[in-house]
Subunit: 324 residues, 2 copies
């Protein structure tokens, strides 16, 4: 089968299509004929820093396709359209996925749309509800509202909990997208002090929850934006990872709960439980078009280098997809 590897650690030009044997599923995996894959930052990191480049693993962690071979332990039959996160090997004509991590694709969605769901929607779901414990009608501040996880989080918060969603972003286009997806208050962080805007939008109460992809550079403003008993989920450090002079008194006085997280290193059982709960809670909403995968651009399989370059330009709103 055709598969994409990095010849050696380096730039997008290192990506190349090669021939590899089709993978063989064990009793807990499904073999998928891949129809579309999501391009992720993890793929870029893997491409650049593969510690053993002689091994040249097949890249890619996010996949949508049709089940070519099921197994006796799975209730997903051959021919079912599925999507999900895999531990590498997605950039190929065939890929393996653990049965309990495969999610059935809602009927109305194409493979390209489906490939845009797993990474960002599972991350957003986990951080909003499992870690952030978002409740009905609460207010949530979502930074990087135009990012993949941001666009997913806006929709999930709004559609599943009727939350009041405040976002920050740096371009008019991103602010508009966020608004369309359900954000009720959109702040251009380049032009406005977001903490002051948040306090104004909440009658000085502050927000119940922050999804923070930014880290250090927003530390003080995030603290100021949180309500008493606020929760703060830290999922990225785009604005630096070292905070100077942290006041513990403020964390105590406001009774803040700060939770750090990374999705990828969780164990298989956790990922399976997350996938199962996510699809049960959202499948109908995707079918009703209340939830929508946000796609920026679709590339062909032989344009993977361009797809990576495009990701590295950081201009996309929503996912970058490659179809086979």
């Amino acid at each position: 089968m055709k598969a994409i590897i990095a010849k050696q650690p380096g730039g997008a030009e290192q990506l190349q299509i090669t021939e590899r044997p089709s993978p063989i599923p064990n009793g807990k995996e499904l073999l998928i004929k891949v129809e579309a894959v999501g391009v992720n930052r993890l793929d870029v990191i893997k491409r650049e820093s593969n510690t053993d480049h002689l091994e040249q693993p097949i890249l890619g962690v996010e996949v949508a396709g049709v089940v070519e071979k099921s197994n006796p332990n799975s209730n997903i039959d051959k021919g079912t359209r599925v999507m999900g996160l895999v531990s590498g090997g997605a950039y190929a004509e065939y890929a393996l996925i653990p049965s309990d991590r495969a999610m059935v694709i809602p009927d109305n969605l194409s493979y390209e749309q489906a490939a845009a769901i797993p990474e960002v929607f599972l991350t957003a779901y986990q951080t909003l509800f499992w870690l952030g414990n978002l409740q009905e009608d609460e207010t949530v501040l979502i930074h990087a509202g135009g990012s993949g996880v941001g666009t997913a989080a806006i929709q999930l918060a709004k559609q599943l909990k009727g939350a009041n969603v405040i976002i920050t972003a740096g371009t008019t286009e991103k602010l508009n997208t966020a608004k369309t997806l359900g954000a009720s208050y959109c702040i251009n962080y380049k032009e406005q002090a977001f903490d002051q805007e948040v306090l104004q939008a909440t009658d000085d109460r502050g927000v119940d929850l922050i999804l923070d992809f930014i880290g250090a550079s927003y530390w003080e403003k995030n603290l100021a934006s949180l309500s008493v008993d606020g929760r703060w989920v830290l999922i990225g450090t785009l604005g630096g990872s070292t905070v100077e002079q942290v006041s513990l008194t403020e964390l105590m006085t406001k009774r803040i709960q700060l939770t750090g997280t990374l999705l990828t290193p969780r164990n298989d059982q956790y990922k399976a439980k997350l996938a199962t709960e996510f699809i049960a809670e959202t499948s109908k909403l995707f079918k009703n078009n209340q939830l929508k995968p946000v796609i920026d651009r679709v590339f062909n399989f032989d344009q993977m280098s361009q797809a990576h370059e495009y990701m590295e330009e950081n201009k996309n709103i929503g996912k970058i997809i490659v179809k086979l």
Copy 2:
């Protein structure tokens, strides 16, 4: 009635017994004939820093006594022995307590013992279970293991969850007390690097939960002592409140949940719920002597100044009680 106030903001010498009218309960309060009170750091702070000293409020927040007058909305009758936290006014012959915050004293305990329970046991219960989410058989690190909250937390963690309890303290006497109360691993922080000891005691896994009264000076060692997915409840800053440099990456990689808290400013409903759940979960254990109030010394009512001075010496292990 006799009551104790601070003549003006200042040292323990400002405390004096005065005459005040007995308080009159509203429809949601019980009138208690006070038999014993707990001395708390909050009382010292209040004594020193009362912003309006002309008002000279009756000090004291922790009380044990017998119900002198109940109300139609309460199922606690006149003559019942109760204990609990009040919003001032405990240092007196009579005090008021909201009915839903009053806890019936287990039969086997004296008033002096009962007055040693509310503040430290409720704080320990809340931080271990509500905020720290301690589960069966987990490992918890409790700093200041010889303190009031520390000695309560050791017992609660051990008796309610069968937890593996590791503590730190600074004197042999405190280490011994902690051991007697159920700690399985006691670290003298003056002689040992506690993070290394914790890792050794947990086969390098780290602890599931830390109760942290220390703050800044223990920051790095606490981070090193936590397991992946560890919870960290910050309830004091005896070691400083400003951390010079915080690495967010470490919080994310270990997926730490850090929760700041203070008991006192919670709302009445929260305090009532906490008192109700606490007494339901622990009453039998107090009766069995599986849980024991830890008392350092009992003073008489006219020795309140000495009791405050003794607290300010920081030598006590367990509670300082004043009986009427």
